[in-house]
Structures are given as C-alpha cells and as structure tokens.
Symmetry: C2
C-alpha cells in the first residue's frame, strides 16, 4: 500500500503539466510541463478583436503526451516508483473553456471546414468577446431568475459558458449549427482519455457546471428551457444536447482506454476522475478545508473557501460562485477572484516597458525598498475587469498620483498594492457574508516567485499568509481526485477530506504582516476604497473625489 501513485494532469492557460504524486503523502515523484504549440503562448488571437482568446483543442493532447511522457521517464528513476502502481489519473483545466464538438465527441476544429474558424476552437476562459451576451443574460436573469444571480455574484461574466456559446450562435451561426454539443475541456479531456465517443455520455463535472454554467441540483440542473428560450430559442434547444446531471470529482469520468493506455505507457482500465477547474484543483492541492481561504495566484487569482452544505445558501454579493459539491463533496464552495494578477505585471513589464522577464525581478528589488504610500500612487487593478466584489468585466485599470518624478518601480509597486487592496476587498466581503476564515493559504505560480507581492498582501490583509508546499497545487489537486476515485483499497482515500489531510502541507515559513506597514496600508486602503467605490459605481451619495489627490500626497509626505 505504500507504493500507490496518482497522476494529476493540469491544463493551464499557456501549458499543460503532469505530476506523478505519492498517494501516501502527496510527495512529488516527478513533474513536467509542455507549452501549447499554437498561437501566441498557446493562445489564438485576432488583431482586430483584442478581447478574443481561443485555443487549438489539438494542443491539449499534444502537450499531455509530451509532458506525461517526460514525467514518467523522470519518475522511473525514483526508487520505489513503478508505472503499474499508478492507480488513477485526474484532470483539471481552465474554465469556462467550452469546445464545440460533433456527435462523436470530436472537436469541430478538426473538421476541415472549420479548422481555420476561430469560433470552432476552444473558447479560452479569458476570452471577453461575449460582454453583450453576458449583459443580456444578466438582465433577463435579474427579472426572471434572480436566484441564478444570487449565487453568481450578481452577474453573468462574459467568461462563462452561456455567454460564450450564445456569442458563437450570433457571430458564427455555422459553427453553432454544426455542433452536436459543447463541452468544457475539463470534461472533454477525461472523456477522450476514457474513450467516450458520444458527448451525451461524457461525465460533466459539477465544478465547471456549477461555477460557469449556472448548474445547481436544487433548481434542476442547468438553467431551465423557458429561461433559455427567453434568451434565444436555439439555446433552449441546445440544452437537450448538454447534460441533465453533473458529477463531483469524487466520481469517475471513465477508465483509461486501451488506446490511450498504450500511447501513455500506463495500465488500461485505471480510473480517470471527473474533471475540475484548475484553480479549484489548486485549492485542493493547497489544502482547502473549512476555515481556510485558499488563494490561487497566477495570471489571475481564484479565491476559494468552504461552507458546510445543507443549510440555506447564503447571499454574498461579489462572491462569483457559490456551488455545492464543486471542490470538496459535502461542502459549499464559495468562489471569488481577481481576473488579472500576474497578467497585469506581465502587461506592465513586458508590454508597456518592453522589458525582458528579468526586469520583473529588478523592479521587485527596487520596489521592495519603497515604503507603503511613499510613491503617492494608487492604482486600480481592473485591467481585465473586476470579478469580485463588483462583478463587472467592463471596468478598466487606473493610475492616479503620477508626477514627473514617478519611477517605473513605483508604478510596479502601485500595481502590486492595487492587487493586494483588491484581495482585501474580497476577504472583507467573504467574512461579512459569514464565511469563516482563520487561515489564508496561497498557491499558484506567483505564490512561489513573487515575495514582494506576498509580503504586500500580508501587510494589506493584516494576516499571515501560508504557502502551499507543493509547487504544482493544481496538478496535485487533480491527483487528489485520482486518489479518491481509486479508493482506499487501491492505496487511495475514502474522501476528499482524508486525501487533502494526507497529501497536502504548507511551508514552514509564513509571510507575517509588519505592524507599521499594516497601519500605513490601512490608511491607503481607505483612499483606495473611495476610488474603487467611485469608479465601481457603488459610492454612496455621489462621493466627491475632489481632495483625493491631496490626501494621497499628504500620505506620501508623512
């Protein structure tokens, strides 16, 4: 029983990762990553439509084969590892990243008629072309089905399933008509690995369904036909080609097909867990449990916490999803997030400043020497809209306090501070909504490589930040799903609670808030909140910003 291994496959925004984990303790036996080959860093874009972001579905299996092969080759050198002791695999992927497929679960993109059609590719989570559709969905739901919005932070995001599918119906009706179904890539990949050749038979994970497609068991699954008909009769018609019931990741999507077992060099028939959203898998891998907020910090941030299921579902305006069973079965997941974190620093350093990636470190080094508020700058981190707590994708980024002596490092720090203030707005809102939060654990790429950001978060939030020990929390979360579907008799676990307890840990060193900086940030946060509320349209009584610049200077000069 000591030598059971689980594989976690993580399909991120720009690349796929494979992790071979020891089921006993979650230890990383081997890991490998492979970038998606198409487009720009794996993303298909269009010059004339900067909000568009698609992916070539062929990239997922290209990258999967490469990185899993590498990981298994590495694992083979580790004492005690044997391929035939891999007891299961799990898959996480970005969402909502829906893919139009034909009746045999093949992507329309692999049909020659559609191979160049961007609408026939996977609609990557960050694609924001469906703003109008999201707004119309929100408007109809507000009058007809307010319960949908109450659990979704008050609005449908253009990043979500129905907005995207509807957008396709409008701008590429030929693709919409040709699609037998639309499937999240977090469902499509497990289905393909399991040899499921009919999208109607593919397991649909409750995580993507609940957080991105307004699925909830207590209102009968997906949004009802009448509501969808109100949007567009063809959407109502599509509903039948989707799914009636979504499953938690403690269930199997299927068993590894002979064909894929051969390609991957694994045993045919091992269970493939139902999918999960990447950040939600990251929460598992980081050690989510009641009382703990997990923040997965990467290109964007995803904040997840648990509430016991069973009681009434609370209304938490600005939480962008409250879904039963979507991460740890038996618990409600409360989700919030910031749609751009790392993406903003990347934009600033690599696009605006045209710097090499090494410039991040250099700016961090200089910015770390600045005192809070000393630059006289404030920023709003809304370069990709605001998810929580405003749920408004059409907000934009802002800098105020600029002067002729403002430096690039000061602006970099202001962006980090803006991100931290946004994180504080979320933490305060979740607590106000009754979510118990005694610990904050961070995972994701930024948690590992940006100490200035983490220290700033700790100072602004006024609490310690713990860092997940695993460097690949998402893939570890997928491996945890695998260990649960394999079950204790195979060397796995009987529940997510026990798997998380055994397979995850945090680093010994925490980021502790500094009392002096925290005090200073309390003041700056109050100013930032005025800016946030004024531009976010939630200021009470037409707050006047007339002295904000002066108060900012006063803070700077103290």
């Amino acid at each position: 029983m000591n030598h059971a291994f689980a594989i976690g496959l993580d399909f991120g925004t720009n690349s796929a990762r494979a992790l071979v984990a020891d089921c006993a303790n979650g230890r990383e036996i081997a890991t490998a990553t492979c970038p998606y080959p198409s487009g720009s860093e794996g993303i298909l874009t269009e010059r004339s439509e900067p909000l568009l972001a698609r992916q070539n579905p062929g990239d997922y299996f290209f990258a999967l084969q490469k990185c899993l092969k590498t990981a298994l080759t590495k694992a083979a050198k580790v004492r005690g590892f044997r391929r035939d002791h891999v007891i299961a695999m799990g898959v996480d992927a970005t969402a909502s990243t829906p893919l139009p497929v034909d009746g045999k679960n093949r992507p329309l993109a692999s049909d020659r008629r559609f191979s160049k059609n961007l609408a026939a590719q996977a609609w990557l989570w960050k694609d924001h072309t469906a703003s109008a559709e999201a707004a119309e969905f929100t408007a109809l739901a507000a009058s007809m089905r307010p319960q949908y919005l109450a659990r979704a932070g008050g609005a449908c995001s253009p990043e979500w399933f129905w907005a995207k599918v509807w957008r396709c119906r409008r701008v590429a009706p030929e693709v919409f008509q040709a699609a037998a179904s639309w499937i999240e890539i977090s469902d499509w990949i497990p289905a393909v690995l399991s040899g499921v050749e009919d999208p109607a038979l593919a397991a649909r994970n409750i995580c993507a369904a609940g957080h991105k497609a307004f699925y909830a068991a207590d209102w009968g699954g997906l949004p009802d036909e009448e509501f969808l008909r109100g949007l567009d009769p063809l959407l109502a018609q599509l509903r039948a080609g989707l799914y009636a019931k979504a499953v938690p990741a403690s269930e199997c999507a299927g068993r590894l097909s002979k064909e894929w077992a051969r390609k991957l060099g694994l045993s045919a028939g091992i269970p493939v867990a139902a999918g999960i959203i990447d950040a939600h898998a990251g929460a598992l891998g980081a050690g989510i449990r009641p009382g703990t907020l997990v923040k997965i910090l990467g290109t964007s941030s995803c904040d997840l916490a648990l509430l016991p299921a069973g009681g009434p579902v609370p209304a938490i305006p600005g939480a962008c999803g409250i879904v039963a069973d979507s991460v740890v079965p038996g618990h409600l997941t409360v989700e919030a997030g910031q749609p751009a974190v790392g993406d903003i620093f990347k934009w600033y350093v690599e696009e605006l400043l045209e710097g090499a990636p090494a410039l991040h470190a250099e700016l961090s080094r200089v910015a770390a020497q600045l005192a809070p508020g000393r630059s006289g700058l404030l920023a709003l981190d809304w370069h990709h809209g605001n998810r929580s707590i405003l749920a408004d994708s059409r907000l934009s980024g802002l800098f105020v306090g600029l002067g002729l002596h403002t430096t690039r490092a000061e602006m970099y720090r202001a962006l980090i501070e803006a991100s931290a203030y946004g994180a504080r707005a979320i933490l305060e809102r979740l607590r106000a909504g009754g979510v118990p939060i005694a610990r904050v654990i961070c995972g994701g790429g930024i948690a590992l490589k940006n100490p200035l950001l983490l220290q700033t978060y700790a100072d602004v939030l006024g609490c310690a930040l713990e860092i997940a020990a695993c460097t690949e929390t998402c893939a570890l979360g997928a491996a945890i799903n695998a260990a649960v579907v394999a079950g204790p008799e195979a060397g796995g676990y009987d529940s997510h609670e026990s798997a998380v307890a055994a397979m995850t840990s945090v680093r010994k060193e925490k980021y502790q808030p500094d009392a002096g900086r925290a005090r200073r940030y309390n003041e700056a946060y109050a100013l930032w909140r005025e800016l946030h509320d004024a531009f976010g349209g939630v200021a009470s009584g037409g707050k006047n910003l007339g002295d904000l610049m002066k108060r900012l200077l006063a803070l700077k000069e103290r």
Copy 2:
C-alpha cells in the same frame, strides 16, 4: 537704415540661445545655443527632495558668452551684417527664477560660504518646494487682499517669487539674512551686462514683477508691508530692499558696459532692454496682438492674450495672471498655462519607458494612426500640477481605461490628448472671461517638432492653429524689445505694435481641424471634463464617476 540688427538673448530652462535678427523684418541672421554646464541638463537637483530645482547663476554668463560668440561668428558670414550695426540687445529668461544677491549685485552663490548651498542658487521656475508657503500666502490674501488673487487665478503658485523667498527664509535663514536683495534672473542679467553694481539700481521688469510677484501699479507696486508682515516680518523688511517701480520692456535696463562690450565683441553703450519672461517674449516673437492667443509650447505651456488697458481689470478665474503693460505696453496681458507639456512626454518616453529620444518620433508615428477615443484611455496631464484653470499645484497625473492590451503608443496619444483637453479648458475659460480670441498662434519647441500634438490640439480646440515662422520666438521677442528701446532713429521701432507687425510672421501651412475627429473629441472632452472636475474638486454636487469607465469603453467601441 536697412542694416540695423538687434540681438535677443533667451535664457531657457536648460540652455541659453542668442539670436541676431534683422530689424527690418525680423529675419534670423544667425542663432546659436549653449546648454548650461551645471547639474543635470543645467538643473541642480537633490535626490531627497524631488520638487527642488535650482540653477548655478554662473551658468547664465558662461552660456551667454559661448552662444553669442558663436552667433556673431556665424552672422559675420552673412552679407550685410556688421557688428557695429547691432543697435541694441534684449534679454528674456525663465520666471519666477529669483536669485539672492549681495549689496554689489553679486550672487550669494559666488561667495565661498554659500557656493555649495542650494538655497543660495537661482530658484528655477519649476522648483515646487514652496507649496506650503504658497498655500499660506493664498490663505492670507484670501482674507486680507482678495484683489491680489483675483488677478492671479485665485492662488499663489509655489513657482512664484514670494513663496520661494519665504521658503528660503524658513529652510535656509542664513542665506536669507545674507541677501541684500533678491532679483529675477531676467533683471539680473541685463543689470550685469549694463554694469549695474547695486541691486537697488537694477531695472526690474514689470513682466516678472506683475506675473510672479503680485506687482501692480494700481495697488502701489509690490504687496504692501502690512500684508507681508502678516506672512512674516522679515518679508516686510525685505520689501524695502526690492523695488518701488517696475518698468516695461520698452525701457532700457542700461547700456552695455565697456567690460561686457569687450567680452562680447560689441559696441559699448548700446541699449540693453529691460527683461521679460521667456514665454512672454515668445508671445512677442510669435506675433501677439489683440484678438490672438499665443501658445508657447515647450516643457510647459504659456498661453498669452491681450486686452486693452484702461478699463476695469476683468476677473477670469483660472487665468494665472492679468497684468498691465507686461508684454505690449498699453495692453493688459492675460496669462494662462499648463505646467507640464513636453515634460510629460519626456517623463513618459525617457523615464518610464527608458527610451532614447528617437522613441518620441516612433511613438508619434504609431499613435498618429489611432482614431480619437479608440484606445479607451483618458489621462489628466497634471504630473506637475494644474496651473489653469484650477490653479492647484498639488494635483497629479492620472490614466484611466487601461487594459491588458493597452499599448505604449496608445498611452502616449492619451497624454497628448490630455494636454489638448487642458488647452481647451483654458481657451473656453478665456473666452468666457471676455478675452477676444480669433486666431491661435503656436510657438516654442514643441510647435516645431510635434505635428501629432498640434493636429490633436487643432482637432480638440476645433480651430486652426498657426505656427510662428521664427524657430526662436523667445529670442526674437527679446530682439523686438531691443529694436523698440533703440528706437526708429537707430533703425528700430517706436512701439511694440509696429515692431511685432514688421518683425514677425507665421508659416503658410496651418493645422486645420478635421471635422470627424473634432466631433469625436467633443464627446471625449465631455468625459474628460467630468474627470477633471471630479479630481479637481470643482464638480458640482458630488458627481458620480460610476459609469465613466463604461462610457469610455462605449466611445472606444463605436
């Protein structure tokens, strides 16, 4: 009479220029420039105090000798030129740039005790260290002498004479005590050239006195003793060591001393005109006359127009100076301006982007291809405060509308547009204040080298922009002063009106507004004005900015 020549000496922010002009038609016979050798581009700075900007007074005569010698050497090769046909010289300089001097009109900076003391140097116009003093001056004037503020745009600027001198008294009392007088460099340089060895005998020009030291003949000259005592008894005491009467630039400061005639290779005894502020000289050289707004566009902008003197002085809130006889004797000068124009582009390109100067041209080229509003960005050009129409030096720069796809060229264009919107706010305010403006003529460095800025100004202002033909309008203005003090009998003129009419012209090509862009900018300007009023503290009734970002996007997407 055809061969009379006048010399204009222009002391700008970073360098001095000499112009030899043909008195008959203002034609440039020769010109030369010399940068100030000290500090960073001629400016003494201090790391710990970014608002500080001083100059080594020795630099002025170093640069003068070099550039005038070069200009005269060049002129010697021009047919018809003779050194002994130079009939007079005029001087313009930045202001308020006051210099503490001893009883023999020598800079304290040349005393070994003070040579390293930054307070003993010339306090360059853009030095903003005296904010607190300016605010206290404003507060006392508001209650005691509201008439002072009514002609000064409502506030004393930290750039002005009394704020700076008072600041020195507070932070460097040893310098203040040692100074027999304080003298604007636009007075000091003519006095030195004329051999005036007592600051009490130096001619003080009405332009710097009126626009920067609250001098007005109708209230008895400088601010009265009682008022100054209210600020600080030592300021009241200083008043006696200054001047009772300032003179227009149609009067002589003196005659070129033998010593300086020898050094410069000119005839001793030719008249040296009283000084004038550089931008005001630029207005002369650009062809200022009733009905014409002259904009001198350089590191900052200075906007000047005329009103007939004699009637009551109008109140134009936001005009930063209304002074009789300061440019064209017999007329009121109305001054407004933006404290940073070129400086903002320089900050953006050379500091933030760390680009070479060539990047300006490259960004202009790309930005010129963008449609108005297409970037979804708005900026406030308050990086060095706002002079007109808010008269508030403690405002700061702002960008809103940023996204992950925002480009450096879009931000560059947004800064240009912000500058143009600021220019429009000024134009509208002057017109509302009763200043007749039928033509706009631009001069200064930016008028010659930034076509995108000028076209954008034309589109935003909705009127044609004419460009002064002379490339050195400031130096030409100083030469016009020289031609007037020399008088018609020497080959000069009997008035500024006749000198300006004969010696200035505009280029044939004008920047005409494009109707489509002008329409679009009308809409963007309305949004910008909301931002301006909200952050400027003049929004009526707590205007809510809650939908500003959305309206900006709507404009972008149209």
